[in-house]
Amino acid sequence: MASPAPKSPEQSEKSKKYDRQLRLWGDHGQMLLENAKVCLINATALGTEILKSLVLPGIGAFTIVDGEKVSEEDIGSNFFLDSDSVGMSRAQVTTNSLLELNLDVRGDCIDETPEHVLSHTQNFFNNFDLVIGTALPEKVLILLSKHLWEANVPLIVCRSIGFLGYIRLQVKEHTVIEAHPDSENPDLRLTNPWPELKEHLDKVDISKLDSKERSHVPALNILYYFIKKFQEENDGAQPVSRNDKNRIREMIKNSVEYDENGIQILEENFEEAIHFVNTCLSSQTIPKQLKTLLEDDACTNLTQNSSPFWIMCAALREMIQSDETIPVKGSIPDMASDSESYIALQQIYHRKALAQAENVYRRACQIVRNLGLPQDTVSEQEVKLFCKHSSELHIMRGSCIADEYEKNSPDLSSYLEDPDSLMFYYVILRGLERFIGEFNTYPGQFDDQVEPDVLKLKIIIGKLLSEWGCTQVLRDERVHEVCRYGGAELHSISAILGGAAAHEAIKLITHQYKPLNNTFIYDAITSNSATYTL
């Protein structure tokens, strides 16, 4: 038999090529990625590994700034160079090899040092959505950090040395609508149903169902019914405490009759109802995180420069003030049920979510008008997404790296109490940067200088610690280990950091998933890592 003429949508080349990642950040995430421009400073092995994981998924464009010529050591650690490239511009060779990875990506390079670019081309770096720097000298790092902080361009700084790695994000303000939490509780509102839902749920009296109906009734109906029973028993009080929840579980269980053998068999839907007690009876108040967000100055004092995120927050705030409830997610978990009852419930939640989103959209449009901004500043689609995820909205306000170096001495004492803390490596890496600044070489770069360099580095670190008011002493062996590396960049360590840093870049560009806040240390000797907010 011939099949009917295909009605399937024609899959574009791009959606086929990017299929495996579109399942993670969607077409809207991909669009942001394809419109993004990033700049890489210094095409070290680490730098090109980061770009590789951005070029493959289809970043819009990249620019490499690097004044170095390719050395023999570079060839041994950087995959995007080969033995013929010694002596050539490192920016040029790596740009060409990276472009081979994906024909949809544009790339160019500047064969100049970042210092030169910073001092000669005013605002060069302002044109990017993100700047990534590797192997930056301390002086350049501080200049760049200040400049990008002012320009409001996010910066990712990375370092790979021996078996150690460091990633630092600098971003003034970053907002996330889709955090994609690993697990989330269903949003069911059973203790406080809106009229349509209440009317629908009130129709089912669990005690009057025949055995066939009982086996098909959704867990939501069961749970709702027993919440009502609980309230009847308790003068209308909401179930809040653990005892209350146990009481409801008990009531559900006791409603199941014994069979002829005296065995009580809980059907799947009743099991599910008991299971839902734990996750679905959370209090209906506004989550603390959202409350903070809605009371933020950026939300309460909108200006023409406010981002769509804050405009939507303000609209949501208005809606919550008038309705005293946050938008429902609009979806329900799967549960044993006949198709019809399940779909009917699903539609009620979905309709409510749509109506609420529309309400928020109307308010957002009004705000946009009042601010004198163009009508398309906020789209209905965006508002729907925003409302759906309103309980997991996330904001991150970062700190300027230059301040960490120049103004606020980091308060590390509490971390350094633990002799195994990876914070010690942060301290050592800061010492390493200062060492390079002073002696223009890595500690331990030359075989006969390892021991003397250990002493020099220890003195530098001692000074740093006392500047910061830390009394802890560093274990000599860690300083020795770093001097042993002599500035070596091990490819596999750069590959690990490159992948991790690239994903942080993708988070910043797509505004999905929560980024690192803000410093990551990786110790490949023990395969441990730690995150610090500096």
Binding site: M1, S3, P6, K7, S8, Q11, K16, K17, D19, R20, Q21, L24, K52, S53, L56, E72, E73, I75, G76, F79, D82, S83, E100, N102, F163, H180, P181, D182, M335, S337, S339, Y342, I343, Q346, Q347, G444, E477, R478, H480, E481, R484, Y485, G486, A488, L490, H491, S492, I493, S494, A495, I496, G498, G499, A500, A502, H503, E504, L516, F520, S527
Partner: protein
């Protein structure tokens, strides 16, 4: 230029610093020397199993960590949807062997290395092949294949009077990713937890009960699954088995699923979802593969050079929310089916009632065994007797009636050994029946 001189080249200075200088965190056996780099360049043979997202990365990492004698095995060919992360492949390579393209690319880019490709299934080679390697790294998306390689490496162990001969141990480094999550582990077969010891770490595949998809579908997945397992075999639209890579097939499933979803008012059937369900697609992205492959290659380097103590023995990675890693020691299972020397027993309460089917189901469904489609034979009075075979259809049909026979009817007795073969292992496993004494009553 010869290999020995090669290790003296300036380009390897990075590696020389960590291999020729002492350090406080080195393995106790570590003695810094230029011989170590010579060893990994000329003598150390590494097998990379899988030339996909992880395999490509691992291969690149290994050659830049100084390894030159590398073999890579993969039976797959390059597809368009690989190109977002499998960076050694280009559009022109679609349809070619992954192992061959990957080896070719690396050999051209990194002068002096010798990557040998094998466009084969792992099962095409026997112990003589696997015995050749110092270290095996797996970058696979299949649990069955992982278990098979693990079983192979365990079977290469030599025991003398119950004591493990350490020279027969071939370390296995294994990585896996899914979306923004991944794991990496080091297995010293016979010495630390093997894949089988920790089988419960792999979540069972999501399956939908037939009665749900047939009678009470609620999710778009239920509709798609119904079309796939019920409608396709019944209507057999293209007179062939369903192939998830055949766009016409996927379109057919998509259209029928839409129809079914419309019938029940179920929203959410999309072409992408249909593809995902039909092919059991696992989301994948370049960055996670880079991280996990980097960790795997670092561990290979540590094992081969002793310049650091290797990972002991399991690491999980997740960068959904910030960047998170966690390291712990997975424990060796005392009575592991594969790596313990303890014979497996199945306790039988009543051989006059227990049917062979129950043993079969135990092997496929219990968390302990999770076999795919085991074949069972035994020896009765020195003669081999087939109990149930699945390899060929005619044999399966012929032996199927045995499943509903009791152990007694099949002539099995207390202490009988059942020989089990399965896709999850290269070896025959022996399971001994243990009858409980007669006075124990079933209730």
């Amino acid at each position: 230029m010869g290999d020995c001189q090669d290790s003296g080249q300036k380009r390897w200075d990075h590696l020389r610093k960590v291999l020729e200088r002492p350090g406080p965190f080195c393995h106790p056996d570590f003695e810094p020397s230029s011989d170590i780099l010579d060893f990994i360049m000329t003598a150390c043979k590494v097998l990379v199993v899988g030339a996909g997202g992880l395999g490509c990365e691992v291969l690149k990492n290994l050659v830049l960590m100084g390894f030159k004698q590398i073999h890579i095995i993969d039976m797959d060919t390059v597809e368009l949807s690989n190109l977002n992360r499998q960076f050694l492949f280009r559009r022109k390579d679609i349809g070619c062997s992954k192992a061959e393209v990957a080896a070719d690319f690396i050999n051209k880019r990194v002068s002096g290395c010798h990557v040998t490709p094998h466009f084969r299934m792992i099962q095409d080679y026997d112990d003589l092949f696997y015995r050749e390697f110092h270290i095996v790294v797996c970058g696979l998306d299949s649990i069955v294949a992982r278990r098979w390689v693990n079983g192979m490496l365990v079977s290469l162990l030599n025991y003398e009077d119950g004591v493990l001969d350490q020279t027969s141990v071939i370390p296995m480094v294994d990585g896996g990713t899914e979306g923004f999550k991944g794991n990496a582990r080091v297995i010293l077969p016979g010495m630390s937890a093997c894949v089988e010891c920790t089988l419960d770490l792999y979540p069972p595949q999501i399956t939908y009960p037939l009665c749900t998809i047939a009678n009470t579908p609620r999710l778009p997945e239920h509709c798609i699954e119904y079309v796939k397992v019920v409608q396709w075999p019944k209507e057999n639209p293209f007179r062939t088995l369903l192939d998830g890579d055949e766009p016409q097939h996927v379109s057919w499933i998509y259209e029928k699923s839409l129809e079914r979803a419309a019938q029940f008012n179920i929203p959410g059937v999309t072409y992408r979802l249909v593809q995902g369900v039909v092919k059991n697609i696992i989301p994948a992205v370049a960055s996670t593969n880079a991280v996990i492959a980097g960790i795997c290659a670092t561990e290979v380097f540590k094992i081969a050079t002793s310049c650091c103590v290797p990972l002991n023995n399991y690491l999980v990675f997740n960068d959904v929310d910030g960047i998170y890693t966690y390291t712990y020691e997975a424990e060796k299972k005392e009575n592991c089916l594969v790596c313990s020397l303890i014979p497996q027993t199945i306790t039988v309460k009543d051989p006059t009632k227990m049917k062979l089917k129950e043993i079969y189901t135990l092997l496929t469904d219990s968390a302990q065994y999770r076999m795919k489609r085991p074949g069972l034979t035994t020896n009765i009075n020195g003669k081999s007797k087939t109990l149930y075979l699945t390899a060929l259809r005619c044999l399966e049909e012929k032996t199927r009636p045995n499943l509903s026979k009791t152990l007694e009817e099949l002539g099995l007795s207390d202490g009988s050994e059942i020989l089990v073969v399965d896709d999850t292992s290269p070896n025959t496993m022996i399971i001994r029946l243990k009858y409980l004494s007669g006075d124990v009553e079933m209730n």
